[in-house]
Amino acid sequence: MGQTDIEPLDVAAIREEYPILRREFGGEQLVYLDNAATTQTPDRVVDTIAHYYRHTNANVHRGLHQLSQEASIAYEEAHDRVAEFIGASGGREEIVFTKNTTESENLVAYAWGLNELGPGDEVVLTEMEHHASLVTWQQICKKTGATCRYIEVEEDGTLDMDHARELIGDDTAMVNVVHVSNTLGTVNPVSELADIAHDHGAYIFVDGAQSVPNRPVDVEAIDADFLAFSGHKMAGPTGIGVLYGKKHILEEMEPYLYGGMMINKVTFEDSTWHDLPWKFEAGTPVICQGIALAEACDYLDDIGMEAIRRHENELAQYTIEQLDGEGDIDILGPPAGVERGGLVSFNLNSVHAHDLSSILNDSAVAIRAGDHCTQPLHDKLGVPASARASFYVYNSREEVDKLIEAIDDARQLFA
């Protein structure tokens, strides 16, 4: 089946499952374009959550009663489902549920970084890393005496791959790279970076927070050692993140959080650890959230990840075209025509991003304004903040048109 057989999304049908999109503010219907921050949750995922609490809620792993068995099996199988979603052939043993992408980054930074890094070791990041990885590795490097280095971002929003090859060397222990930039929209060549990292015996950690939700991601095709993403950015609930790790690496890693469920044998003097992935899930886990995330994976696969990728890129390209008109808008990241994630960050010359977002809110157009958790990148670009419109499966061109109109209102107001 060729690529051309992929149907565009039936946005009208998809929207049916999202009552929140029918909300009105001041008589205007909500135009929700803040999906890179968090996506909305379709009825079938909300129903899964409510059904869980109303019918099978129980603690997992150890209970011998029926409810606990049901909850345990559903929770364990959720790991398998997520493994399948990202092409992890090792199944549940390679999937750790955390509370968000940020915790997934910290898990590796604490469990691996704090134990393995030392003076002389280098962690290579990119200038477009999100604070989730940038601050984490920066601080773990400070604790261990290792050094952080940053691959430069070019004018056109892409990574300087020559610089990458220069930075990644035999002292490199870890390369952490964002798959799709949440500020620039850039799709980074993670598989090429994985090869470079592996050539030098380094691990590669792919921040998939903005890629797993909106394109097919296959960890084994990329050859990622670690991949992190969040449920709340992919039609799932808040309070769950995922850490994928290659089995042999996770096996060798020390645990991270200590407590119940993650142990094997405990005495007053010492403890031994449970098998993967439970070794990394201490305490009562994010049971309902895990089960709901598996449902979100089903939901997204039913729509089709390749179709979602196209939809997102098309909306982004359309937005860039429409924004370009007046010549008073700077667009961050790759120019029109270059594939990107479903988001566009920009600045309207005369209007501060925060003012713009406040004014757009009057027309019920919800965008984000700020540094999008990439302060150092904004500093480099010489802007304190930017406005960002970001899309998901339920967004349409008509909504982009409303965005453009609302921007025009702001332009008038500040003229």
């Binding site: 503010f25 001041g26 205007e28 209007v351 501060h352 991003a353 925060h354 003012d355 406040s358 004014i359 757009l360 809110n361 009057d362 027309s363 019920a364 700020g370 540094d371 904004h378 304190p384 903040a385 209102d409 107001l413 500040f414």
Partner: protein
């Protein structure tokens, strides 16, 4: 619908934003202080000259960069501070600033609105009480 949006940008605010009063620096200010709103990137620097008995504000100037709310608030405050008793400045609070702006400020923008006030107050506190504040930052 909630507060925010163009309600927040009534004529007066836009006017002060587009034509800020009392901008620049003062020579030999009694005190000078700088503040920022790191999340937004708003920055304000205020120079204040007091009367000889140090009880009244004689002149104020500010420089800044940031959103309309933060900059208009600084401009309007600079006008109000003119001739104000220092004690009065030190007692200003969030409600006074909202009153001064004459619009409802959405909760997320309050820190933009009060930045200038905090800078002026911290400047006075440092000067009179030798407080150890390096740079003012407004957070929730």
């Amino acid at each position: 619908m909630g507060i925010g949006g163009s309600d927040m940008y009534r004529q007066q605010i836009l006017d002060h934003y587009k034509n800020p009063r009392n901008t620049g620096e003062l020579e030999n200010p009694t005190f000078t202080h700088v503040g920022e709103n790191p999340m937004c990137g708003d920055e304000i620097r205020m120079d204040v000259v007091l009367s000889e008995d140090e009880e009244t504000i004689e002149r104020v100037a500010f420089r800044g960069d940031g959103c309309a709310i933060s900059q208009a608030s600084a401009s309007m405050l600079s006008e109000r501070l003119h001739g104000m008793a220092v004690d009065e400045l030190r007692e200003l609070d969030r409600d006074d600033i909202v009153d001064m702006l004459g619009v409802d400020i959405s909760p997320m923008r309050i820190k933009c609105a009060v930045l200038a006030e905090k800078v002026a107050q911290d400047g006075a506190d440092i000067y009179f009480d030798e407080l150890d504040i390096d740079r003012t930052t407004t957070e929730d």
